[in-house]
């Protein structure tokens, strides 16, 4: 690529970058308003791009616009842009704005820059600006990395947070440059090769930043779709398909000598509850049931809803005695729990059927139907009991 070292070149480049920022800002605004897509993060990004565009536009007016606008305001706007980025980043994963730390950096930097004279080679000003920018982007990068590590693979986390680290290193580079070569002209309208390269990297950084944010939001959407395909929307436990898959996987391990057990759970008198208090009460009761059962389930176990008021727990590496313990604890917890619907109390109990996988079981269906039969036995015995059948 031939880089012509003429001032018009730098001006054109700067104008083009401002255009790209402005279009990106519009895009995020439409996403936030029209598609209601992660609205806080999208609005934040619209703001980030708009602030960066304004900062660069003001910068390009140096010598024409009022001094404070084209110098101080331009610098503060760019710090504010990364401050907003730092603040909205956590909303993508945890749903909380981190505006305190962003403000804690922005306000002192703005005050400090206000006190500085902005004359001469402006090396102090440059250092303050780039120190703030690189700190803020490093904070966003670390935040993203930490949040992603808990949810997705290492490769994916590196891919998604990597660009943010690169950006903070580039900004740090500008700070180091002003320390090592203090006499260098750091005006971004200058036509030095370093400056032209810096402008190009600025464009690249912004594109990468926007893409990273878009990918983070996409990853969130895809996680939600995956969750929806595997979880029951009402109670948020596994749906039948996901639970069947988990049981089938466990059954395959049975051939290698790893036992497993199933607990079949059916809420007692669910039909009466529905008929007398309404479907909404039925839904609330199912949610309450899951809330009570969940603490009894280990990390390796899988709790799923088979449909209606029927649930099932898969207990890997557990024999019938272990399953009986778990089921009895669940039964007791449920019996002692309280369920109130519009001030009216309703006794929540369930009948439990337990079964252990036997070496002779050809498929997981055999174990399931044993647990099912045990559960019917429990119902026949007057409900609110744990039962097993002889294989």
């Amino acid at each position: 690529m031939i880089i012509a070292s003429t001032p018009t070149h730098a001006v054109t480049l700067l104008a083009a970058i401002v255009l790209v920022f402005a279009v990106a800002s519009l895009f995020w605004w439409v996403m936030a308003q029209g598609a209601r897509l992660a609205p806080r993060a999208s609005m934040g990004l619209a703001l980030v791009n708009a602030l960066l565009a304004a900062s660069l536009a003001l910068h390009s007016l140096r010598g024409e616009a009022p001094h404070w606008m084209s110098y101080w305001a331009s610098d503060v706007l760019s710090i504010a842009a990364l401050g907003v980025l730092r603040a909205v980043m956590p909303t993508l994963v945890r749903g909380r704005l981190a505006w305190r730390s962003a403000l804690a950096l922005l306000l002192p930097a703005a005050a400090l820059l206000g006190a500085l004279p902005y004359s001469g080679d402006m090396r102090t000003e440059t250092r303050v600006v780039f120190a703030s920018l690189s700190t803020l982007s490093l904070m966003s990068a670390l935040d993203t990395w930490r949040a992603l590590r808990q949810r997705v693979s290492v490769t994916m986390s590196m891919l998604l947070s990597g660009p943010l680290f690169v950006i903070s290193v580039l900004l740090l580079g500008r700070l180091i440059e002003s320390l090592v070569l203090p006499g260098n002209n750091t005006d971004i309208l200058g036509s030095g090769d370093f400056n032209i390269a810096w402008l190009w990297s600025m464009l690249a950084m912004n594109l990468v930043l926007n893409a990273t944010m878009a990918f983070l939001i996409l990853a969130k959407l895809i996680r939600r779709i995956q969750r929806l395909t595997r979880h029951d929307p009402l109670t948020d436990v596994l749906n039948r398909r996901a639970l069947s898959e988990a049981i089938d996987t466990e059954h395959a391990r049975l051939q290698r000598g790893k036992p497993y057990a199933l607990v079949m759970i059916d809420m007692d008198r669910f039909k009466q509850l529905n008929d007398s208090l309404g479907h909404a009460a039925g839904d609330a009761a199912l949610q309450r049931l899951v809330e009570v059962l969940k603490p009894c389930v280990r990390e390796v176990d899988a709790l799923g809803r088979l449909g209606g008021e029927e649930f099932c727990v898969l207990l890997p590496l557990t024999d019938i005695a272990g399953a009986a313990l778990v089921a009895e604890r669940m039964r007791l917890n449920l019996e002692e729990s309280e369920f109130l619907w519009q001030g009216q109390s309703w006794p929540l109990t369930a009948s439990f059927g337990i079964a252990e996988a036997e070496p002779g079981d050809i498929s997981a269906d055999a174990v399931l139907s044993r647990a099912d039969r045990a559960m019917y036995l429990a119902k026949a015995q007057g409900r609110n009991v744990v039962q097993a059948v002889d294989a």
Binding site: A4, T8, V20, V23, L159, L221, L228, T229, G307
Partner: protein, 399 residues
């Protein structure tokens, strides 16, 4: 101070954006697995267009014999791939003859003209080809987005395509008529910065619009999934309740709606004898059969287990009873076929009107539920219809 913008720089920025979009679509295809085929086509398309944008100055070192034809051919190919990718992404029928035809024609004419020394006419045809391809893409976005995009969003997304096509066609015409004198937007030092600005802006708008389409599609899918039962694709209970509440509100304003509730007969035995997979197959079969007797505006929902409900807007009770009868007979006529076994699959039906004074539709549902229960008690595989003055309803005679 008059400000001169440098067209080359602007086209270089466009080139950087093309490279960026190529990367974005590659990541979409390879890592996110979103519309992978379309995304790969788009990624390749963006890559193909880059040389034509970067090489305005590079004719200096480019082999003189080729006169930059390679970049022109590549960018024509890029536009063709882009149109193809958009067609695939809009989930339209993958016809490619029109795209191949336009590309082939413009290619052949271009080569023939340039060998005869009419280089500017050849360039004009190259431009015209790209313009027509862009128009095809615009049409695809318009037709393909009809289902998912709001009209103003669709218009917003399509405008850049139309402008881009106009620009390319205009360039082609200017090349033909103004000949070598002062054609506009031609490579080299005379390239006008205004047109380079327009190209950059339109490329940004088109590229971002495409990403927007993909994102909206994902959001639509999430919304669809939260409203549907994952097994049968019928509405889930929450979504059905919302629909019913809407119908009940219309009942207050004098409309007549009905609902049919049904419960599969002996479902427990089916599940026990065929296993859960057989039970699932039975439900899928049931839904497929029910749908044949439904109009477009009827709504089918799964209330849970083997219990379903069909909402029939603008249908008086006698008509609703006839619909239920049709469904009942259709089920009887088409047994479930499971692993080469033919198994009878029937259901018990209750038909009730949407009554006024019931904003959530609870009592309409309860009445239909009670009628299903009656139908079960009377021996299953039959229909009970609500009747004013008779709390037990009326059993519909089997035909």
């Amino acid at each position: 101070m008059p400000l001169y913008f440098d067209a080359n720089t602007l086209l270089q920025v466009s080139a950087v954006f093309h490279g960026f979009m190529a990367g974005v679509w590659l990541i979409m295809a390879q890592i996110f697995r979103i519309a992978p085929r379309a995304a790969l086509l788009l990624s390749t398309a963006y890559l193909c267009i880059i040389p034509a944008l970067l090489c305005l100055d590079c004719q200096i070192w480019w082999p003189a014999l080729l006169q930059g034809w390679l970049q022109k051919l590549l960018s024509l190919l890029g536009f063709a791939l882009m149109t193809l990718g958009i067609r695939r992404m809009m989930r339209l029928r993958m016809r490619w003859l029109d795209i191949a035809g336009v590309t082939g024609l413009s290619l052949a004419a271009m080569l023939a003209l340039s060998f005869n020394g009419h280089s500017s006419a050849a360039l004009a045809l190259n431009s015209a080809g790209m313009g027509v391809l862009t128009l095809l893409a615009a049409r695809d976005v318009l037709t393909g987005g009809r289902a998912t995009l709001l009209p103003w969003v669709r218009a917003f997304i399509v405008v850049p395509y139309v402008l881009m096509a106009l620009m390319l066609l205009g360039r082609s015409l200017s090349l033909l008529w103004l000949n070598e004198h002062r054609p506009f937007f031609v490579q080299g030092q005379h390239a006008s910065a205004a047109l380079a600005w327009a190209y950059l802006l339109l490329t940004l708008a088109i590229g971002i619009g495409l990403v927007g389409i993909v994102v909206t599609r994902l959001i639509d899918r999430i919304q669809y999934m939260t409203l549907r039962d994952p097994l049968t694709d019928a509405l889930n209970r929450r979504a059905l309740s919302a629909e019913l509440a809407q119908l009940q509100a219309q009942v207050e304003r004098g409309q007549t709606h009905s609902l049919v509730m049904l419960d599969v007969d002996h479902f427990k035995q089916i599940n026990d004898s065929l296993g859960h997979a057989g039970g699932d197959a039975a439900l899928l079969h049931l839904v497929a059969v029910l749908r044949t007797s439904m109009r477009d505006l009827d709504r089918l929902g799964r209330l849970g287990g083997e219990e379903f409900c069909v909402l029939l807007p603008h249908t008086p009770l006698p008509d609703a009873a006839r619909v239920a009868q049709r469904m009942c007979e259709a089920l009887r006529r088409s047994p479930l076929i499971w692993r080469d076994q033919r198994l009878p699959l029937t259901a018990s039906f209750g038909v009730a009107p949407c009554q006024p004074g019931d904003p959530q539709g609870d009592s309409s549902l309860a009445m239909a539920d009670w009628l299903v229960y009656r139908a079960k008690a009377l021996g299953r595989d039959r229909i009970c219809v609500a009747e004013p003055g008779r709390s037990l309803g009326r059993e519909l005679p089997s035909s």
